[in-house]
Symmetry: C2
Subunit: 252 residues, 2 copies
């Protein structure tokens, strides 16, 4: 067991340790989020690896994307995955969490806004659903390919018996519970069980759309294009809102 030696030799990123310079920069960035630029925000090896992993994990799954594929796509050495992340699995979790925090933050911001707009009433189901979906749909339409791959990766992980529960829960459950609470408030008298199931159906519809399998295109003979985010955005919200209302009226 040579872990001690290895750790001493150099695993800076692996355990979250920071050099003095890095600690200084981190502190300054905390104090002055946008002002300080000690140097050009260059694309680090960690970023390159996460970008490549994001894309390939989404396309071929965890087992289908090899570290040699990923490091080649990133243009870095094979060994650097284990140096910076410790293992292939930790690379996956790092990728999941990188953009997950941003998403959580904006979702909560929009939910708070919806609550303010509707006060003292609770926001409508549609408003809550939009606050949940729009941070994804707007990035899907306007953000770069990184976010695009990230959403496809979420689709893969969410539907995976192997990773779904652990990885999705760790990143998203806290925020999701707040949205479920908000949906329940928007539908007075609804049974919590119905809303939980409804949320499950919602994420199912969402993640299949994010997976971009191309099946909808083939099925509709080109009438629908699964990469047309405007078409998706116009329909997903109304669909799941109507579904939730239908459930709240009473199942069976």
């Amino acid at each position: 067991m040579l872990a001690g030696l290895v750790a001493f030799q150099g695993d800076g990123g692996r355990r979250g340790e920071l050099s003095a310079r890095k600690a200084l920069r981190a502190t300054l960035e905390l104090l002055f989020p946008t002002k300080i630029k000690m140097s050009r925000p260059k694309r680090t090896t960690k970023d390159k690896l996460m970008d490549a992993a994001e894309k390939l994990f989404a396309k071929r799954g965890f087992h289908g994307a090899s570290l040699r594929d990923i490091t080649a796509a990133a243009g870095v050495d094979l060994a650097l995955v284990n140096y910076h992340f410790g293992s292939k699995f930790r690379l996956l979790t790092a990728v999941m969490e990188r953009r997950g925090g941003i998403l959580n933050e904006e979702r909560l911001r929009r939910l708070a806004q919806a609550r303010m707009d509707a006060a003292p009433q609770p926001p409508t189901t549609e408003a809550v659903v939009d606050a949940f979906l729009d941070p994804i749909l707007e990035r899907l339409a306007h953000a770069g390919p990184g976010w695009h791959s990230y959403f496809a990766l979420i689709a893969y992980v969410n539907n995976s018996p192997e990773w779904g529960r652990k990885l999705m829960g760790k990143t998203f459950d806290g925020v999701v519970r707040q949205f479920i609470q908000a949906v329940m408030e928007s539908l007075p008298g609804s049974a919590p069980r119905d809303i939980f199931w409804g949320y499950n159906f919602l994420t199912g519809a969402l993640t299949l759309s994010l997976a971009e399998t191309g099946r909808l295109d083939a099925l509709s003979d080109g009438l629908c294009r699964s990469d047309d985010v405007a078409e998706l955005k116009a329909r997903l919200g109304p669909y799941v809102s109507a579904g939730l209302r239908g459930l709240a009226r009473g199942p069976r």
Copy 2:
């Protein structure tokens, strides 16, 4: 290139060839579907392999389940996969198609029944949706673990950018188009594009429920159990029917 020699040596199952005896039995079974039993319907090696592959592909994905895992679980020799199916991928397609045909057949039967029950009106959206979902949900509740694994495998394939379009389309598109047509007839004046998208959301909600990731259980702190098919059955139909009606009323 020794394929010719190999094929000569013995690949009976690989190219669908049949011995004289097998041909006789196949003919007799065509003529008298349930009457003829030339011998006990024993569980063949092909069946054992498909059963094991069904389970492991569903649990760990195509790349995550090795042929050594699968043959070990089936209790047969490693080489028999390539003898009977030709390749790992062809084993996957065989598994997909084995129960897919049964499902298609019963779905069409139920759709025809719904059409008869409602004639001369078109059947309601709910009736069409039930004809689509019930063949799955009833087997999920009452059939053996084989069907269970098969549905989880469908969930994996349907959400996979790697296999989704090709494998799902090949097995299901013909029947699915008839259901989409029936939904359109149940919602006069609806735009085909809306119904295609609605079907996409429907399968998303369905397949996430079939994947059994356990996330719903964790999210609801045990209030909902994702393996409770009665709870699912009571809610999925109403949810997607309400969603489709909501879409047909006009998106945006």
